[in-house]
């Protein structure tokens, strides 16, 4: 995968996903060492290009890059290109002139990483674009489920919340479906986008039916600004109807796990008592996020430029990781 852009799970094959997950499983060990660093990406420059603030994702990518000995530069741009009177193409060309080895992009508008990738010589990793995709999040979710359940094939995964505005939902729908899980989405009809069934999921507006027999229940973060958009009338009503708590979770399988991409609105999408303890695996997700992002960086930035010969994966893993 050297030099390849990671723009979305939709573009990845099942084999790609399996390779990334296997690589991440090897990377997990590095985080347990006394010296949490390997020289794999020494001398490589990674740019975290965040047009939208995201402390968690940015920090996770930064730690991942540093554990692989890369130089990580944070390039935070707090606004859209229009307010800066600079085009995306200008931004891309400017970065390209600095000759990075990988650019990690977060933007509030769908498609921006794709447009940048078309111009940049370095591979681009999408760290979240609008309501489109957030591939590293879905991959770390899959890694976590695999760790907890030993498999993905045949599982039932229910995603609850604002599906319409969620890139995490879309990436997870693609990812879990590709690996043979059944994906259900649930939320008020105002939060379920038109034609979601065409992505191969089942649509529910009744939470109990949606989590009946589920192995994994994933709650999405409710964006309070959606109140203005009249997607739901009040936090109280949302929490009562779609908020997960132990009582509602009884409908899921006995050994079901609860996931959340963070940060949690306690008492809204997730009851306080669920956020901190089993069956919640939220902190496992965060921990796995670093290993997963190490795997992604290693797989795409192991060589300098798109199209250059692929480094031998076996060499790097055996020798350095």
């Amino acid at each position: 995968m050297i030099g390849r852009d990671i723009l979305g799970i939709e573009d990845l094959s099942r084999e790609d996903i399996e390779l990334i997950l296997e690589t991440a499983e090897r990377m997990q060990e590095i985080g347990t060492r006394e010296v949490k660093k390997v020289p794999t990406l020494r001398g490589r420059t990674l740019i975290n290009l965040f047009f939208e603030p995201s402390t968690r994702t940015q920090t996770s990518f930064e730690i991942a890059g540093k554990r692989l000995a890369a130089d990580v530069v944070n390039f935070s741009v707090g606004s859209s290109s229009v307010t800066k009177r600079e085009t995306l193409l200008d931004t891309a060309k400017t970065l390209d002139a600095m000759d990075p080895d990988c650019v990690i992009v977060r933007h509030k508008v769908a498609g921006v990483p794709h447009r940048l990738a078309a111009v940049l010589g370095a591979p681009v990793i999408n760290a979240g674009d609008g309501a489109h995709e957030h591939p590293s999040q879905a991959l770390l979710d899959m890694l976590t489920v695999k760790e907890q359940k030993g498999r993905l094939e045949g599982l039932t995964v229910t995603i609850v919340g604002d599906i319409a505005h969620s890139r995490v939902a879309r990436s997870n729908i693609h990812g879990f479906s590709k690996l043979g899980a059944e994906v259900r989405v649930a939320g008020p009809p105002t939060m379920i986008p038109a034609g979601i069934e065409t992505l191969g999921v089942k649509r529910y507006t009744n939470l109990r039916e949606a989590i009946e027999g589920a192995d994994v229940v994933m709650a999405l973060r409710i964006q309070m600004e959606r109140l203005e958009g009249a997607c739901f009338p009040s936090v109280r009503e949302y929490a009562a109807t779609f908020g997960l708590d132990r009582a509602k979770l009884r409908y899921a399988k006995e050994d079901a796990i609860v996931m959340h991409p963070g940060p949690v609105n306690r008492g809204v999408e997730l009851a306080h008592e669920l956020a901190d303890h089993r069956p919640s695996v939220i902190l496992d997700q965060v921990r796995n996020g670093v290993a997963l992002r190490m795997a992604l960086l290693y797989l795409v930035a192991g060589r300098r430029r798109k199209g250059e010969a692929e480094a031998s994966r076996a060499d790097i893993i055996a020798g350095e990781a």
Partner: protein, 445 residues
């Protein structure tokens, strides 16, 4: 002296007698479709017949070509005054004749807005000097396109406005819309609407449906258009005004127009080449040249507007030519200004409808020329004897590569950029003067 139009060379035609010979003449206004010659004298059509052999005429050999009346575009943004970096009356007029359009109606969303007779006159004066095509200004329906106070429609009509429209700034206030429609009957010109409920649209930039959901881009539902068309045809029925619905893109709008026409409402409608031939899937790579308003729709809507056009519910094909500077489109999809250029590609793109059996050649020409002229009450749209000789030669089979950088528009925002198109305008005459030749370029009339 015989010249094939596709040989290029010096074609100093104009002013005298010109015989366009041996082509397939298509004149929907007179239901003519056949191998007929067309004789032009002093800028007017003087004879259309088989085997004309006049003395001393320059002869244009049109063998293999369609000979059609000058095309009429009901909907273009020529950006002057105020945004000449995108387009002006010279470049827009050149793009028009290169695309076979001899008359172009230009929208009022200029800077300043064409809501005052002085602006209308300015546009016409500049067009007279700069544009090889005849420019027909559409004036604003309300001052400043603000949807509140109606414009001086009678004075604007007197200055040369052919219709009234706030276009993309849909008049949401039904009370204002009612008054505008009522008053327009005094001025004797249609009100053109970009029918879209802006609240229902919200921030939507692509058709709400499976593609928008996949892409995570905000959706603009078909219902936003369907509701507003339903309102406007009812208001037109109530007021007796002539309503023209711009760029119909949804099945529900076609149905509402069909029913209104059956009820005798004075409603006409247009559809763009892009809404006839592209679906929302064209946006899958986030190419901002596919960001248009209304958005490209799903296949079932495209099918419905095609059927509406074939059945005559939709009268005309109009380009909605909307030039934007390259750098304005090199931004986030949601931030890119909506619109694509279309004057130079409309014929080639629309010819797909003939090849796919949706329209006969005569019916295509009717929708590109005769009907739009009729919608605006313009002279033209016909090759009848006595009319100004606005004549276009089209080779429907000729393949060419469309390079907007080599085109006449100042802008390049086209989803057909660098694509191979089939069907090419070879020559355009305005009032008997050759203003465009595909090898020689454009000259002013």
């Amino acid at each position: 002296m015989t010249r094939r139009v596709d040989e290029g060379g010096r074609l100093a035609l104009g002013g005298g007698r010109i015989l366009i010979r041996g082509g397939r003449l298509l004149d929907p206004a007179q239901e003519r479709d056949g191998e007929l010659d067309c004789l032009i004298e002093d800028g007017r059509i003087v004879a259309v017949d088989r085997g004309i052999a006049p003395e001393g005429a320059e002869i244009v050999d049109a063998a293999g070509c369609w000979v059609v009346p000058g095309l009429v575009d009901l909907h273009a943004h020529l950006r002057a005054p105020g945004q000449e970096y995108k387009e002006d009356l010279g470049s827009g007029g050149a793009a028009a004749v290169a695309g076979g359009f001899t008359q172009v109606a230009c929208m009022a969303n200029t800077d300043p807005v064409n809501d005052d007779p002085s602006v209308t006159k300015y546009i016409l004066d500049r067009a007279e000097k700069e544009s090889p095509a005849r420019i027909r200004p559409i004036a604003a329906a309300t001052r400043g396109l603000a949807g509140q106070v109606m414009t001086e429609m009678i004075a604007l009509r007197g200055a040369g406005a052919v219709a009234f429209s706030d276009d993309g700034a849909t008049i949401m206030d039904s009370g204002v819309m009612r008054r505008v429609l009522e008053y327009s009957t005094l001025a004797g010109a249609p009100v053109i609407v970009h029918a879209e409920d802006c609240h229902l649209r919200g921030h939507g930039v692509v058709h709400e449906g499976a593609v928008a959901t996949r892409l995570g881009l905000p959706g603009n539902p078909a219902m936003a258009e369907e509701l507003m068309v339903a309102r406007d045809v009812r208001l037109a029925q109530w007021t007796g005004a002539h309503l023209h619905v711009a760029h119909v893109s949804t099945a529900g709008a076609v149905e509402a127009i069909r029913r209104a026409r059956e009820a005798g409402v004075r409603v006409t409608a247009e559809v763009t080449p892009h809404h006839l031939t592209l679906t929302d899937a064209a946006t899958m790579d986030f190419d901002t040249s596919t960001r248009v308003a209304p958005p490209l729709r799903s296949p079932e809507h495209v099918e419905a507007v095609r059927r509406g056009l074939a059945e005559g519910v939709i009268d005309a094909i109009a380009t909605d030519h909307a030039p934007h500077a390259t750098y304005e489109k090199e931004v986030e999809f949601t931030e890119a200004p909506p619109g694509m250029i279309g004057l130079e590609t409309a014929v080639a793109v629309s010819l797909a409808l003939v090849r796919e059996g949706c329209l006969s050649p005569l019916e295509l020409v009717r929708r590109l020329s005769t009907n739009p002229a009729r919608v605006l009450g313009l002279e033209g749209g016909s090759l009848a004897v006595g009319l100004p000789a606005d004549v276009v030669l089209i080779d429907p089979e000729r393949a060419w590569n469309y390079d907007p950088g080599q085109g006449f528009s100042k802008s390049r925002n086209s989803p057909w950029a660098d694509q191979r198109l089939v069907g090419r305008v070879l020559a355009t005459f305005v009032a008997g003067r050759l203003v465009f030749h595909h090898e020689r370029g454009v000259s002013n009339r």
